[in-house]
């Protein structure tokens, strides 16, 4: 899907409350930190790339030098030292804000009200509901799809496909078992295990 005439495109990690990458990671390399952010432990990741296929925002990349999956760490090391993430510190227009979620939500709500009062009827906050709430959220002036962001309805964890996937495999197993029984059934001879 192409991006129309928009002023922003987000490929930053959203640090989802219910993170798809963390859900599928088979090695537990992806963890939730004490700051409620999602972090890939570089010394644990074995580069299977399952998280890349799971992330609905396309923010995880594969580093061919380190052989591991990598993404925004929310400057975990800086947070541990009571510093703001580098992007929020460096941004010259203060478009990137960092702080307690409640305060930021309040700021966003005020901005949203201002925009809507100015006639931007499509303005909305993105990140309140998606994936249990994102830890990086955005003020949009159009529907999420226009920004290459999944809508609230389609923001569902990958495990949604476990039950239907295994169920189809189970039904196939039963049908294949019946097929095997019909094709292989013994016809008046002793069982295979009792051969010479």
């Amino acid at each position: 899907m192409c991006i129309r005439d928009r002023s922003m495109m987000s490929d930053v990690c959203k640090h989802c409350a219910n993170a798809s990458c963390l859900e599928v990671c088979p090695t537990n390399a992806i963890i939730r930190t004490e700051f409620d952010t999602v972090f890939i432990q570089q010394d644990v990741c074995n580069g299977c790339r399952d998280c890349i296929s799971a992330c609905p925002y396309g923010v995880i990349g594969f580093n061919s030098t380190s052989g591991t999956a990598q993404k925004c760490t929310f400057c975990y090391d800086r947070l541990q030292n009571n510093l703001k993430p580098a992007c929020a510190t460096a941004c010259p227009t203060q478009s990137i804000k960092f702080g307690p979620l409640d305060e930021l939500r309040q700021t966003a709500a005020t901005r949203l009200a201002t925009l809507q009062a100015q006639g931007v009827s499509q303005a909305r906050i993105y990140g309140d509901k998606e994936y249990g709430g994102l830890h990086a959220f955005f003020l949009l002036t159009d529907k999420p799809e226009a920004y290459n962001l999944p809508s609230t309805q389609s923001a569902v964890l990958p495990s949604r496909n476990n039950v239907p996937g295994y169920l189809t495999a189970t039904i196939t197993t039963i049908l294949a078992g019946v097929a095997g029984l019909v094709a292989f059934r013994r016809r008046g001879e002793p069982p295979a295990g009792q051969s010479s």
């Binding site: 090695t27 294949a176 094709a183 059934r185």
Partner: protein, 307 residues
Amino acid sequence: MPGEHFVVPPHWEWYILGYFFFAGISGGSYVLGTMLRLWGDARDAATSRIAFLISFPTLLICPILLTLDLGQPLRFWHFLINDSNGGLAFKYWSPMSLGAWGLLLFGVFSFVMFLSALSEGGIVRQRTLQTAASFVAGMVGRVFTVVGAVFGLFIAAYTGVLLAVSNQPVWSDTWALGGLFLASALSGSAATVLLATRNRRDAMATDRKLIDADRYFILLELALIVLFLATLGGVLSKVLTGGWIILWVIVLAGTLIPLALHWRTTRMKVTVPVVGTAAEGISLLAPVLVLLGVLALRAVVIFSAQA
């Protein structure tokens, strides 16, 4: 919601294609061997043995391909052991985690049945092998064989579920992939066993049964291909355009032509064709086409979604 996730591809390519193929053949061959033991007669013993002899060597290829695909191959054991706390790395909701454990456990069953088959066939005469063979022949051994078949079914099917449990277009838009890969793996395994037992007098009777079984598996696979395509909705065009059409033609050739040849074989009550005749060529053609179809199906599913 088809097409509403904006992911980047994981670049699972040739190693993963090879892994999916051999995992299917290994799991499927074990299942066929078990079915023949449970439901077949004495004349099926040789083919059952050959199925188990195929299962383990093809399984051995799987962890090699999987490990080579990793960015950090020396950390393959992180699939099993949690490097952070030394405990087990096991997440039942992650198909990749389940698959790593499934592969390991299936390896035990496949290995024991391989040893047993070596001994039963008189290929190697050694005390350990004879112990494995006598264990497998008993009631406990039968239960062991069946439990192994459950793991075999899982290994053949879970790769499809693994793709679906993602947010990639195509893969995550369908629930048919687990069943589709399983049906295709069983068909491919029947073809592999048929190839391995070609011109063997002791497998003549079973070849007819395998051809019957393969017909059913192919029909099941075709039905699941239709379901797969029907569930794709808005992303259907992603798998049915450009070069992917060529792969679909191979998939169709690997299902429809063998189906027609199998039907002809059954109808004409052909058994083992004479070496060097046209009938022998046809008996080779069907399983080869099936295997090409199995490979092409996995290729089109894996690659088209990431294009």
